[in-house]
Amino acid sequence: MIQVRFFASLREEMGREGAELEAVEASTIGEVWEKVAAGKERPANLLMAKNMDYSGPDTPVCDGDEVAFFPPVTGG
């Protein structure tokens, strides 16, 4: 399984905190987005993380990974 998480405004737009995918359904982070986004285009400023490290859409994913999508960070 791949655990997918959404944060902040993206979580609200998606209407859910995350999703689960079978590992065979996606081989990159970009493909994970396509599976879970229900047709929503990937925002230009969307940030992506694999296992809590910033990553890009071409980063490969495999069984057991946690993939997160979120808007620009605004802490501090």
Partner: protein, 147 residues
């Protein structure tokens, strides 16, 4: 090198006092000539609107990891004795402290540069998000202002 994520209000100067007494002094009394500290506080006004409250969301685990990475990077770039980062999460009120970063060194130039690095990197990389509560409605803060 310490990272603290606080779910309730904190006072930055209490944190500094406690950290120096409990951690710095036993290890480095007489060695840290210089400490530079940045304290960020919630304002009641942003982009032309009054702000009555704020929800600070984060990505638990990744937050700690990135604050640790940033602290480690500072320790590699400058000759520091120690660093401290404290960040509030959850629901907060105007004038509540949001963030504290501190860098201790033998010399002041290094302490200033490292503290500045910590806050700039925190703001651009650590996974926190602010949602402001306005007099009418609420909104996500879209972007951090440049320094």
């Amino acid at each position: 090198m310490k990272i603290k994520i606080m779910e309730s209000p904190f006072n930055p100067w209490d944190e500094m006092q406690r950290y120096e007494k409990e951690v710095l002094d036993p290890l480095y009394a007489g060695q840290y000539g210089a400490a530079t500290v940045f304290s960020g506080t919630m304002r009641d006004f942003n982009e032309g609107d009054g702000v009555t409250g704020m929800l600070l969301e984060h990505y638990p685990g990744m937050t700690d990891q990135y604050l640790g990475k940033i602290s480690q990077e500072a320790a590699e770039q400058w000759d520091l004795l120690d660093t401290l980062i404290v960040h509030r999460v959850g629901l907060m009120m105007p004038n509540d402290p949001i963030v504290l970063v501190a860098a201790w060194s033998a010399h002041r130039g290094v302490a200033f540069e490292a503290a500045r690095y910590l806050i700039e990197e925190l703001k651009s990389r650590a996974p926190f998000w602010k949602k402001e509560q306005l007099l009418e409605g609420e909104r996500w803060v879209a972007n951090n202002t440049p320094a």
